[in-house]
């Protein structure tokens, strides 16, 4: 395993730390993890001078490191030490510090040791955070509830991201005054549209006044069906009555049946019970399995970005969504459904940062006019998204992301990539088998990824290398130091000619070298792709030099060999993907306990040959995903250690105190 830290049993420390969002440091992929004596030596050498004894700076005494368990004496301080080591802000810049490699190793040792302590006696689920629907969830939910085909949430402000980098993170779903206005408008728009559309009406106007049914009873029937769907739970006493009151009020004022029902529906759609994902609080001290209705929502917002469908609701009503086998089957069903495109699009575009393509990151229109074609833009945008969806739906191994014999293409994209035409392939993106030597297959050969890690006017080995380290391996390099010094002037005063020569200046400067030695070679391996990801063998009249040498001496030339290097680290890739997906599934930043659950998922994943659905199933069956925290902080949901596969932890539910 490329992850660092020794597994030791530590006394449990205060549960406070469990709640802190925890960024686990991965080991640099090319180094062996530290053992305790080595870690202690490093701490003594680099921290001891200031952080010793009673007058230790910042109240952090690093000298009391007698065993790994010593970390639990001041876990928060150690976590902060870990973060500052990784960022390069501690030891302070003005004193000689450890090498970048050593920083990462030590940070990873601290993280691993803290995590081992947290995992030692079971996993405590973090509390479910109430969150409003984000913009895309809102639109998809209205689409499914009312069977409308307009984007009802288009006027809502866009959301930022938190946690693992997704816009469904509860912590960053803020509310501004403008939301009240926009939600009101959107509800009117959606209901107005739905009322005029016969296909929509068939879905939600479930009753019509007639000989045997008074207007009032018809309205009641409609609301009795609609309110629980909209609120994603059974109605509470008086709820339908309240909305019926609004209907009646409109009728008294002379409104027609449709208008009055529509008015009541608008009220439902701006109610906090609709706009917020709420779960009834768990009054018990111990964690419990989330109830079936909560699970229906957790599942459908994870895999569809939308409200539960009839089948999920039926299962929830029968209380079946606490059963492992049922959940497993539902995962497979949801992933095969077309609505899984919502998950694919939201997840992939934020994981790979390709959402910014065409937003903040736009290829230069003068230099790359080929990009400014709606069909090409669409094909480029959806290639990684549908590729991801295909891997999930077909349950392919996760390494397919790195290397595949197919891609998702259109007729225009084939031409754009210089690939042969495919029979019956038109504007609609489809799975296409790749010929030999296509230079495609896998995320790294996709235009969206290559463009989003380029400058508008030229490629950047630095940005591409950083992108691979961050998005694929989960080891983002630390930021450049503030006040980056000037690059050493060329002795002869002549400007270096090629990009590679200019970047080698970077790596001659010791302040820059540590990180650039990691980033630049990876980026060089991708230099055969231009800003838009098209294959090239020459750049500005010079032959492309796509050779990269990693700090450990691994040498590769071109993307095919770079892929081999990454495939050799598929465990690290898979773990990073698992963390991202867990963050997306939970809609929040990950805690140390969540990483314990990921450990278990990784074990199962390895046994299952890294099948994609095994990852999704592992997340769905994990303690953090399916449990509700109790009132007693730190109470674990499952008694066995974190080593047990997540699936089996879930099977022990409900957790016995």
């Amino acid at each position: 395993m490329p992850w660092c830290g020794t597994a030791v049993r530590l006394p449990r420390y205060s549960s406070g730390l469990r709640r802190i969002v925890f960024i686990l440091a991965a080991c640099p992929a090319w180094a062996a993890p530290l053992d305790f004596p080595a870690a202690r030596r490093m701490v003594e050498a680099h921290c001891g001078k200031c952080h010793t004894g009673r007058s230790a700076v910042g109240g952090f005494d690093a000298s009391r490191l007698e065993s790994p368990a010593s970390l639990s004496l001041q876990p928060r301080k150690w976590q902060s030490a870990m973060n500052r080591l990784r960022e390069g802000t501690m030891p302070p810049r003005n004193v000689p510090g450890p090498s970048l490699e050593d920083r990462d190793l030590l940070a990873a040792w601290i993280g691993g040791t803290l995590k081992a302590a947290a995992c030692a006696d079971g996993i405590t689920p973090a509390p479910f955070l109430v969150r409003r629907l984000n913009r895309s969830e809102y639109s998809a939910t209205l689409r499914d509830l009312l069977n409308i085909h307009i984007n009802a949430g288009h006027a809502l402000p866009a959301e930022g991201a938190g946690g693992e980098g997704f816009d469904n993170a509860a912590e960053t779903l803020f509310l501004s005054p403008i939301h009240a206005e926009k939600f009101l408008e959107a509800a009117k728009l959606a209901v107005g549209y739905a009322m005029r559309d016969t296909r929509s009406r068939a879905v939600f106007m479930t009753a019509a006044p007639g000989q045997d049914l008074s207007d009032d009873d018809a309205a009641r029937k409609i609301l009795e069906a609609f309110v629980p769907q909209a609120f994603r739970r059974p109605v509470r006493p008086g709820e339908v009555e309240k909305f019926l009151g609004l209907y009646r009020g409109q009728r008294v004022k002379g409104g027609g049946f449709d208008d009055a029902v529509g008015f009541a529906l608008q009220a439902v759609l701006i109610s906090p019970s609709f706009l917020f994902r709420l779960e009834e609080a768990n009054p018990a001290p111990e964690p419990r399995l989330a109830d079936s209705h909560a699970m229906a929502s957790r599942l459908s917002y994870f895999l569809w970005g939308s409200t539960p469908d009839k089948e999920l609701i039926t299962l929830a009503e029968a209380g079946k969504l606490q059963d492992d086998e049922v959940l497993g089957k539902q995962v497979a069903r949801l992933l095969k459904d077309n609505k899984a495109i919502e998950f694919a699009e939201r997840f992939v575009e934020q994981w790979l940062n390709t959402r910014e393509l065409g937003r903040d990151i736009k290829p230069d229109g003068k230099l790359f006019p080929e990009y400014y074609n709606a069909e090409i833009q669409g094909a480029i945008k959806y290639e990684p998204v549908i590729f991801f969806q295909e891997i999930l739906a077909q349950d392919l191994p996760l390494e397919t992301f790195l290397d595949a014999s197919f891609t998702i293409s259109t007729d225009k994209l084939q031409r754009f990539y210089g690939l042969p035409p495919v029979k019956d392939l038109r504007q609609q993106p489809k799975r296409v088998d790749l010929p030999a030597n296509s230079h495609r297959g896998g995320i790294l050969g996709m235009a969206a990824v290559l463009a989003v890690s380029s400058y508008p006017h030229r490629t950047s080995p630095v940005l591409r290398g950083k992108w691979v380290l961050d998005a694929l391996l989960g080891t983002p390099p630390p930021p450049p130091p503030p006040n980056v010094p000037e690059l050493a002037e060329n002795v002869h005063g002549a400007a270096p000619r090629t990009l590679r020569e200019r970047l080698s200046e970077h790596r001659r400067n010791p302040v820059c070298a540590g990180c650039h030695e990691r980033m630049d070679p990876i980026g060089f391996g991708l230099e055969n792709y231009d800003v838009l990801g098209r294959w090239r063998t020459e750049d500005a009249g010079q032959p492309v030099d796509a050779v990269g040498v990693l700090p450990d001496g691994t040498r590769f030339a071109g993307p095919e060999e770079l892929k081999r290097v990454l495939l050799a680290r598929k465990g690290q890739f898979a773990r990073n993907l698992a963390s991202k997906m867990m963050g997306y599934a939970l809609g929040r930043g990950l805690t140390m306990e969540d990483h314990c659950a990921i450990d278990a998922i990784m074990e199962q994943l390895e046994k299952d040959g890294y099948r994609a659905q095994s990852l999704v199933r592992g997340i769905v069956l994990s303690v953090p995903f399916r449990y509700q925290a109790g009132t007693r902080a730190g109470a674990p949901a499952a008694r066995q250690g974190a080593r047990a596969p997540a699936a089996r932890q879930g099977a022990r539910a409900p957790a016995a105190p």
Partner: protein, 443 residues
């Protein structure tokens, strides 16, 4: 609000007693007479990535200052302009090179370092301090406009959520205000608000009341943490309800636009070209000020760390953030300066638009205060020392424009905000790390 009432009476008296009620009725749904006292307006434009450090500061001080190369586009506006030198934002030192700088630009505080879980700017932005006091007098307490949506993702490189890089306005420590980026939708809001009764239907109030009922009932079933979230919603819904209530007051007390909004001027939507987009958004601010739909606006030219491509500017071939890391290379600095000047030109264009909007003897610019600035000075250094800052407009005669004011090194930026809030008519004792008003700013 009573101020308007008096002024209308004055107006009627002036117009003679012979005027009958029918005339009044005919006039009321339309614009408020432009002769009523001009309200003060406050606007802040934020530019990412700093400026070319050597070409920003004018060489000479005082009223007769010489425009620096970066400020040349403002030559015709020199008498309306105040250049401020040596102010800094102590709160935004450290942290990282960008996120801390932008989110603290109008708050003068240090934001909490986080990927999201405990987002806090630890303060309130100065525009929102003003909005709290006068926001209720106009349909919109404030407008937050931009051309780019919030940047996706978290920056694990430096450990900040990009939420920080995308907001300058904070109504509270944990409330970054969402931005409007579609000029058409801003226009529609302004247009609707200008209709009698704010174009709100009687049903709207019922709907909002129903939400408030729901939220109250719901609170009881929730834990303390969850209740806070629902309360947030409750409070924004209440805000809207109050606004609708104010709009549906009896005619005499209701707000009306100072000039009518011409529905035919509705923008199409988000234009493809960045420059056109910026122009339209600034037009919306001008329109909002002219109609008195709001008195407070902020605008972000881009999110921080933006690498907006400026190749549409003659002589520029690169992205903003890229050239801002100029490494003292001549070509980078040349492009950096061109981009800075482009921003200054847009600022000038807004000022000219406001100056062309007449309000009796004066112009909208005369009663406005338009701040322009960045959260760092030099893109190579990421330092919040000697920030590039301009203020234009006279705030109804309160601001001593037409000079270059040079302060002792590292004078708090917050002091400028103290003076601006005073000029705006919403004085504060202190603001963040202020040590007092900034001498020379007020008349």
């Amino acid at each position: 609000m009573s101020r308007f009432l008096i002024s209308r009476r004055t107006l009627l008296r002036g117009a003679g007693v012979g005027l009958g009620l029918p005339w009044l009725e005919a006039m009321t749904p339309r614009a408020r007479a432009a002769e009523s006292p001009a309200p003060k307006r406050l606007c802040a434009l934020y530019m990412p990535n700093g400026v070319h450090p050597g070409l920003w500061t004018p060489e000479t001080e005082g009223p007769g200052f010489n425009l620096s190369p970066a400020l040349e586009p403002l030559a015709d506006l020199k008498s309306e302009l105040m250049v401020l030198t040596n102010l800094w934002n102590a709160g935004s030192v450290g942290g990282d090179g960008h996120y801390v700088k932008i989110s603290g630009f109008l708050t003068c505080t240090t934001v909490t370092k986080t990927l999201g879980v405990d987002v806090s700017c630890n303060g309130v932005s100065m525009d929102q301090v003003a909005a709290r006091r006068v926001g209720a007098e106009t349909p919109f307490p404030s407008l937050e406009l931009a051309v780019a949506p919030v940047t996706t993702g978290v920056d694990r490189n430096v450990g900040y959520t990009r939420v920080y890089g995308s907001h300058v306005s904070w109504s509270g420590p944990t409330s970054p205000l969402a931005k409007e980026i579609n000029p058409r939708s801003v226009f529609e809001r302004l247009f609707r608000a200008a209709q009698p009764g704010g174009a709100a239907s009687s049903g709207d109030k019922l709907l909002l009341d129903s939400v408030i009922d729901d939220a109250r009932a719901l609170r009881k079933t929730l834990g303390a943490q969850d209740r806070l979230r629902v309360d947030e919603y409750l409070s924004v819904v209440r805000g809207l309800e109050q606004r609708i209530e104010r709009a549906s007051r009896p005619e005499r007390k209701a707000w009306r636009p100072r000039v009518p909004v011409d529905g035919a001027r509705k923008p199409e939507g988000i234009p493809k070209e960045y420059a056109e987009h910026v122009k339209l958004m600034l037009d919306m601010i001008a329109l909002a000020f002219e109609t008195d739909s709001t008195r407070i606006a902020t605008f972000m030219f881009q999110n921080e760390v933006s690498n907006q491509n400026f190749s549409f500017v003659e002589g520029v071939s690169s992205g903003h953030h890229t050239v801002s890391h100029h490494q003292k290379k001549e070509d980078n600095l040349r492009q950096y300066q061109l981009i800075t000047r482009w921003h200054v030109e847009q600022y000038g264009a807004l000022l000219r638009r406001l100056a062309a909007m007449k309000e009796g003897e004066r112009s909208v610019l005369d009663s406005s205060m338009v701040l322009f600035g960045a959260g760092i000075r030099d893109g190579d250094r990421h330092d919040p020392h000697d920030l590039p800052l301009l203020v234009a407009g006279r705030a109804g005669g309160r601001l001593a424009v037409g000079q270059h004011l040079k302060y002792p090194k590292d004078t708090p930026l917050a002091n400028l905000y103290v003076s601006m809030l005073d000029a705006f008519g919403t004085p504060v004792e202190r603001f963040a790390d202020s040590t007092g008003p900034l001498p020379g700013v007020l008349v």
